[in-house]
Amino acid sequence: MRFLKTLAATTALVMGMATATAQAAEVRIALVVKALGIGFFEAANKGAQEAAKELGGVEVIYTGPTTTTAEGQIEVINSLIAQKVDAIAISANDTDALVPSLKKAMSRGIKVISWDSGVSAEGRSIHLNPSSNALIGNMNIKMAADVLPGGKGDAAILSATPTATNQNIWIEEMKKVLPNYPGLNIVATVYGDDLADKSYRETVGLLKSHPSVKVIIAPTSVGIVAAAQAVADQKKIGEVFVTGLGLPSEMAGHVHSKATKSFAIWNPIDLGYSATMIAYNLVKGKADAKAGGSVPMGRMGTLQLDENMDGAMSDPFVYDASNVDEFAKIF
């Protein structure tokens, strides 16, 4: 019986605290994440709160299950439907399993968008991609050109496997924008199979076989770390630079050792900010939410929608010595 009392008291306390915070705002937007307690999503929430502050009269409900399961997210969606929130912006654990419950949400007048990890087209109105293949390809080449004196010199690509879909598309996009960077040549492409040791060995081999290479572009978070390590171990720091796509927490050391000057990846804060802005504009009817339309997203500009109602937020965010430590704490 004693524990029942304690339980009742705890429940009362928890609920009391919660009521105090659940003040009615004009527009209530739920930011649903894959699971709570993940740095990347906590950062997205930071961006969402920033958007709410900027807009005024917006309450962001940051929520998600404790484990990354579709069933957990469905429970969360059910409780959000019950609360009659105005919009749900979700990073989905499952493309398909959430569709019936999100459809129910939409049928009850809730605006639904997905961001980061998408939901099938019938379960949401808009999907916000952090970036697009073309933008990623361009950014990789741009970062390579930026470290070369006058933007001229030889570069090589360290990819994942020869069959990796994402990497192959990005490499193709890189080659497409190459004419915009005269003087920059891609002289070799090697494959590290997204294995740290193979990527390392391929980089060492590359440095030996192509001494003219001054930049290594690794559009893979495994490859970029291995390449930077190889450059450092071969005492080539200052001669050869590594760039590409990587995680700030893994790359901070290499940025400080100067093996890498800059690298790129999505910025979760911008992502949360944009998702909130889009949701708000949908609720307020300020968005042109149809295939080929566009949606304003505050300081992040305008989201252009393609025929699947997908949109790319922006260029990948560039991390260098000035900001890598701040983001290394997040993801």
């Binding site: 524990f3 339980l7 009521t19 019936p100």
Partner: protein
């Protein structure tokens, strides 16, 4: 109802010589449910909406349906930890059948049959070779989930027939969903089986004293085998409802659900060591867990708080009787 069963052995629940002798676990649990209900109704303006309460039932009916069968198994001092994996393998079987053009009722039969078959496999290993069920079902938990992964990989089965959505998404009457009605009917059926039939008495006898049960002419192995098949069958039914509700199948479906099912059963006052427990207790426990989850969800309290609340309740229900015995012991 369980008192009759506990007459012939040392009772291991609180209602021995403690102050509220007449207060049984089910009554306490019911009081908790009422308290939570009242709290929720006061804390959130959205709680008392019939549609919302109906939505809330979807969160726990599948688990609770399995918990009914699990309760019988645990009373018989066995356990089935593979139920969530059985859901996965049954759902994959239905998905493959749906791809091959099987109709709605065919899918239901396939789902239930796969479940029953998986349960029979568990029962066979446990009763034929005398293996501990916790070991066997931890093994089959990986095995069944593994089969689902082998078949589906990182793929997905969608495109179930439109009327298949009935089992997990439709309403029988006003806000009362098919899932919920099914659960209530099953609760009555399982309640009668456990508390009003000879078969039910056998289950208690086996849980209390398997050797004694055997000497008194109960076919222990056969009863246990049937219980495993029933557990698999109910997991198959849950697979039908869950697959219908989410309209797709991935090998990760229902991941980790077995622990929530066992939690429900234990919270319902079923002795984890076997021999005692009741179906009404399990049903009330299902409601308590459902109400707590939904209430906290409405207030946007992170799910981890819910885990803490349930954890505390669970430890209390297991620890308090043991502590009490120790204190009372000379």
């Amino acid at each position: 109802m369980t008192d009759r069963a506990s007459d012939n052995h040392i009772p291991d629940r609180l209602d021995v010589g403690w102050k509220p002798r007449m207060l049984r676990w089910e009554t306490l649990l019911f009081a908790v449910a009422v308290v939570i209900f009242v709290f929720n109704a006061n804390a959130s303006p959205y709680f008392l909406d019939p549609w919302n309460l109906s939505d809330a039932t979807f969160n726990f009916t599948e688990k609770a349906t399995i918990a009914l069968a699990m309760a019988l198994l645990i009373v018989a001092a066995e356990i089935d930890l593979s139920v969530a994996s059985i859901i996965a393998v049954a759902s994959v079987a239905m998905g493959a059948a749906a791809q091959a053009g099987v109709g709605t009722w065919g899918l239901v039969v396939i789902g239930m049959a796969t479940g029953a078959l998986a349960g029979a496999f568990n029962g066979f290993l446990v009763t034929r070779f005398g293996l501990p069920s916790i070991v066997v079902t931890i093994g089959t938990m990986s095995l069944f989930r593994g089969i689902a992964y082998v078949v589906l990989g990182d793929g997905v089965y969608k495109g179930y027939p439109a009327d298949f959505a009935f089992f997990g998404q439709e309403y029988v009457f006003w806000v009362i969903s098919f899932e919920f009605v099914f659960f209530l009917v099953m609760a009555v059926v399982f309640g009668i089986i456990l508390h009003r039939t000879v078969f039910g008495r056998w289950i208690f006898a086996i849980g209390n004293n398997p050797v004694g049960a055997r000497f008194s002419g109960i076919r222990v192995e056969r009863v246990k085998f049937i219980l495993f098949v029933v557990s698999g069958l109910m997991a198959g039914v849950a697979a039908v409802m869950l697959t219908s509700r989410i309209g797709s199948t991935r090998p990760t479906i229902a991941l980790g659900m077995e622990l929530e099912v066992v939690t429900m059963v234990v919270l319902g006052g079923v002795n984890i060591l076997g021999g005692s427990g009741s179906i009404p207790g399990v049903v009330i426990a299902a409601f308590v867990m459902g109400l707590v989850t939904f209430g906290l969800g409405l207030l946007n309290i992170p799910g981890i708080v819910m885990s803490i609340v349930i954890g505390v309740m669970l430890i209390s229900v297991i620890a308090l009787p043991i502590l009490w015995k120790k204190i009372r012991a000379p």
